[in-house]
Structures are given as C-alpha cells and as structure tokens.
Amino acid sequence: MTNNSYFPEGSELERFVKRRRQKGVIWRSLFLLATTLGVIILMVLLLSIIDDSLGYAAVQYKIDPHEMVVGFYQDMALNASNARAFDDADELARALGEHPDAVGLLDEATFRAHADDLRAVSIEDGELPGVVVAVSQQNDWLQSVTMQELAPLFTIAETWSDVREGWPETPVHRYLPPAGSPVLTTFIAGVYGDDPAQQPVEALLAMLAQHLSPGALRQFVAEKPLDQRTQEEALGILAERVLEPTVIETWSLSQSILHKDEIEAAMAQTPDAELEFRRWVTWDFITSPQSSKPELAGVRTAIIGSLWVVLITLLFSVPVGIGAAVYLEEYGSGSRLDQFIENNINNLAGVPSIIYGMLGLAVFVRALEPLTSGSMFGLADPTTANGRTILAAGLTLGLLILPIIIINAREAIRAVPRAFREASYGLGATKWQTIWHHVLPNAIPGILTGSILAISRAFGETAPLVVVGASTAIFVDPNGPFSKFTTLPIQIYQWTSRPQAAFQNLAAAAIIVLLALLLALNAVAILLRNKYQRSY
C-alpha cells in the first residue's frame, strides 16, 4: 500500500478542495456581515443625532421682533419734529399739497387722486411697493432721494439741509399716515429694515431702553456702560429680556422634510407662533452658558467643565499610570506582592464606573474635602464650599482610567525590542538610562494610544460624576480646579430628562459637540503619536 492511497484523489480530491474553499467563503461572508452591521449601526446612530439637531421649530415671541423694530421707528418718525399723523389719507394729501416744506407718505390710489397738487419723489436705489413719497408741486428741490437719505429725512433731520447739502435750511415737515397703517409699516420695513440683527447698536440699545423696566436697565448699565456694548451683546440681551422667544414645538429633520404639510397644519392652529428652520448647533449654542430657557441655553459651561475635568484626569492618571507600568515591567521582580498588585490592576479595569463614583464620593469629596474644596490652600470657592469640585471629579475619573493606562503602557513597554535594551546595557548603561533613553521613547506611541482611549472614555463618562456631585444646573463658568462644575455628558443627560421639546434638540446638538470634541482630542493625540512613531 502506497502512502498516496490515504489521500483523496481525482474527483474526490476536487470535491474535497471545493468543500474546504466553501467553508472559507462562508466564514468570510460572516465576517463581512459583522463589519457591515457595525457600520450600519454607527450610521443609524449618527443619522438619528443629526436628525434631531436640525429641523423646523415653532417659536412664539413675547414681543414679535419685527413688530418691535417697526414700532421703534414708527415712534421715532411720529415723534420727530414737525411730524403730523393724519387718520384720513385725503386730508394728508390736501395738507401736503399746500405746504412746500413738507414731505409725506401716501398709498398709490390717494396719490393719483391728488396728482395735480403733488409730485412723487423717485427713489434712486430701491423701491417701496405701494408707498409713494410725495411732496407738493411747489417744492422745487426734492426730485429724487436715496434710501440712506430717507432714513434721517423722516426721523432725526431738523432741516432739509441736514439731509443733503444745498437743500434749503427750512425745517422739514413730515405728514404721515397713522401708526400701524400698512403704508407706514412698509415704508419702515423698506428703509430701516425690520430684522433686529440688521439694526445698528445705537438703535438696539434705544429699543432696549424702551422695553426694559428702569430697574433692569440700571442693572444692565451697571455691568458695562451702554456705549461699550457691542451689537451682539445688545441683541443677546434683547432676545433674553424683551423678545423672550419660546419654542413651543420642534420637528426633526426627517419630519421637516417628509411631513411639511402636517407641520403647516399644526402651525395654522397657533397663529401667533412663527415657523423657523433651525440648526441647533450654532456658534451661539457653543458659546452661551447654560440657561433654563432652551432658546438661550448653550454648552460653554459644560465644555469648559469637561476640559477642566479631563485636564485634571490627564495630569493625575498619565504620569501615575506610566510610572506604575514602568515599575511593574522593569523593576517588578515577579514576587507574590507584585503578582497580587498585577492581578488587582487587571481586575480594577473591569470594575463598573459607578463604583468608582462611590469611591470618589467617599474619598475625594468627603474624606479629602479640605484638599478638593481648596479650603486647605484658602482657595475655596465660596459658592461651593464642599468637595464637589472639578478636582474631586478629575481625580475620580483618573482612578477610573488608571488601570487602563497601566495595562496599555505595560503592553507598549513590553513591545520595545529586547535588542535595544541589550545594546544599551552592552554599552555600560545603567537600568535607568536604558529605560529613559530607549524603553520609554520607543514605547511612547503605544502609551499614547492607550492614554487616548482612556481619556476618551473619561470624557464621555457620566455615572461616576453624578455620584461625585456634578451640578446639573450651573450657569457660571468654572474658573479653576476648586469650582463646582458640570460636564457635557451630564448636561446631555440632564437635558434629555427635561419636558420641553426644545431641550431634546439641544441634547442632540450637545452630543454633536461632544463627538466633535472627542474627535478633535483624538486627532491631536494621533498626530502626536505619529510624530513619535519610529520605524525599525
């Protein structure tokens, strides 16, 4: 019997090989399926977050912003010197026809009826539909004006020569239709604009003075004199104190696109609300502090809190973790004590994070309160005056990720080729010189990778911070390790549990900010790692 008879031959061999290959194909498709599933789940997650962070919102204002602006200029025009309001347009037209120093606003029908006495002034750089700026036939200078000249003409100009050089120095008389009439409203919207964001800061501050109570205005002036305020600040305070927008209902992006008709039907039932398309992640959202009003709430406080906490975590856990890893890898003798420590570190990496929160509460918040509240150094924040500070949170998260950092750093140190150590010792280097000059520099990429993963985890951690006492409603930015704080995940958690619809969208927006920050942190760390990466 030859050896060959033990192996399949001919068609049997063909079938056998085919079967073996088929097995491989099945496994490959399973792996592909697993990968696809992962990618799909990730996409769905991202899409659902993006879906919530864009879309229509029904906004109700206490005072409509357009009405506020129009009302402001209307008052200005009606209260200007020599201004007269006529309830009857014909009366206005007759009075205007007799007065060469007057200028008036008319609707087209009335103007045509009095065309014998009046002349329409042409506007050089625009048009005001349905509105005629008219003067008497006796007026021989006002042929045409620009939009820019119309603005003072109906408000602050005292004499004609104030508007344009060369016009007579006689006072301007303004004949206006009554407050709230379509002619006046169209004129104001056209000349001055009716969007608060287009208004100069002086006008905005004047509107503020008009609408704020005297006490609130005094407080506002006490913070910073009015003439030092920027347009942005004025708009912000106007929105917060005067317009007071309330989002009464929001729709996600998919609803906004697919069910526009339903949204419009819902809007028809609430006539005083406006439909606005919103991007919830705005620059204002990132730079505003937390607020109880969803319209004004932002994540600045939470971002600063998160960065502070992660900074403390980083400063504590990375050096300690690397130090422990170096000891265990390079100096540990493998004694029973070392093995005990090693086993415990590995187990600690698997302890649920809430347990670390309990530990942090007992140790950092309570037992070490003089340290974590800063009272030991006389730096305690008077509004806090307990251990629930950034420092306590940072140290708690530091403990949480310490085992992860140690395990990863040990792997990285172990991966440094033995050849480098031998070469170093062979030249008469001491152990420390070998570690410092060869082991650590070559382990840094691996240590950084592990630290990135650990820090990312700390950044997104919520449970232990709830236990340690992160504040859920905090409106003041933290200013040091002894401040009370909130973090982005805590903020998201708190917002999702609010009843107002808008907070759900804010939570989605905050998640996007959190993801973007995480990606940015990781990108920086990966760049650092690539910089240190060596080829050998």
């Binding site: 062979g426 030249l427 008469g428 001491t430 060869h438």
Partner: protein
Amino acid sequence: MADQSSSNGHYAIEAKNLNVFYGDFHAVKDVNLTVEKNKITALIGPSGCGKSTVLRCFNRMNDLIPVARIQGDVLFHGKNIYDPDVDPVQVRRRIGMVFQKPNPFPKSIYDNVAWGAKINGFKGDLDELVRTSLEGAALWDEVKDKLDANGYSLSGGQQQRLCIARALAVRPDIILMDEPTSALDPIASLRIEELMIQLAEQYTIIVVTHNMQQAARVSDYTAFFTVDEGRTGYLEEFAPTEELFTTPRSRITEDYITGRFG
C-alpha cells in the same frame, strides 16, 4: 576597575570552573577558558551547546535573565567580575558587545555612536570620537555625509559595522561578538571578518560563530563546545585554531569539524 597584577595578568579574561544554570537546568558546566590579549578567540559548537551563554558570562549580560545563575569565576584583570563588590555596569563599559542581529538604536548614525560615550561621562571632542570610531569600524567613508540619517536607513552589513563603531566608541578592552555575521550576506560577512582582524591589533575579540570556515579564517584560538547526554554544554577542546582544525585531540571535535555531526 584597578589593573591588578597577578599571575594571570597576560590574559585578557579567564573563566574558571564556570557553571551556568537556567532555573533547574544546568546549561553549561565546568568551563575553563583563557583568552589572550589582542587575539581573536572563536567559540564554536552545535546548537544549544552553551557557547553564547558562556560569551554572555564575560560581560554579565546573563544578569538580565532573571532565572540565570552563575557559579565559578570570570577573572578580568585578575578580579572576579562576579564578586559582590563589582558593578556590572562597569564591567560592560570595559567589555563591549556586538549582537547576532544588527541592533542600532532608532536614532541618527551620529547619536548611535555618541550615546554610549555620553552616558559614560565622555568629556572629550564628541565629533572626533564619532569619526575615529566610525573609521575604526570601516564605515566612515560610507556615512560621513549623512551622519544625521537614521541608523536603520543603512544596509544590514553597514548596520552591523555601526554597532561595532558604537561598541568602539566607549573604548573597551574586549569586544564580544555573538554570531555577528549570521544575519548578513557573504560579502557583508567578509567585510566584518576583515574588520575583526584589523580590530584585533587593538582589542581582544571573542566571537561566537556557527560558521567553522569563519572561525578557521579569522581566529587565533578556537574553543569547541558540545553537549553531554543531559543537554548540558561543556568545553570539549580549546587550542590554537590551526591545531584544533588540523590535529584535534578529541574524537568529538574531529567529527564536528569534519561535518559528521552538528
């Protein structure tokens, strides 16, 4: 270490009743070996015979293996380097080593050579030291224009010569070479062999090699190691190279060098 005058003063290094254990395993037993100054001594033998282990005993590299235990004496300038008052760091400063696989540091060529001198407190002109060391390793002409390049940008043979230059830079008395050409092609190997003969004018060289022709070509003395039934290595024969290869005293040596086993 002080240069003590003793009856063994003309030997560069000497092993007396050297025994090495890895845990319970007796790796090498009762090695007695004397190495002449400014000569090349080759250690040959089949795989697992303990020749590399013996080599590593000469500069206490076995200390790095936690389970290794050494009995017996290694006399360097008449002083046992395993005495408790001897610091292995000082021993390695005097007895340099070149390894089987070229292992430059992932640094520039310049730093590869200068680093050993720097950590050993060298106070002279580093540039000059780097140049003479690279010249000593017959590498200067090839790298003088790219001293900033990474050591790993060189070819295998150049890397090994860089490692030799690195060892020369701390001005050792003895250079241990652990199969320095086994990872290199024949031409690069030949250059290393020529270099060894040159270096022997100034340095004592102990080289472990698998290649009997290499031992025959370059060495002045050859030590033949083999293993007994318990896989424990021992020194079978030690003699001037020519004598060992032409008229071996031992039957086992003869079988090995004629290629009947190993």
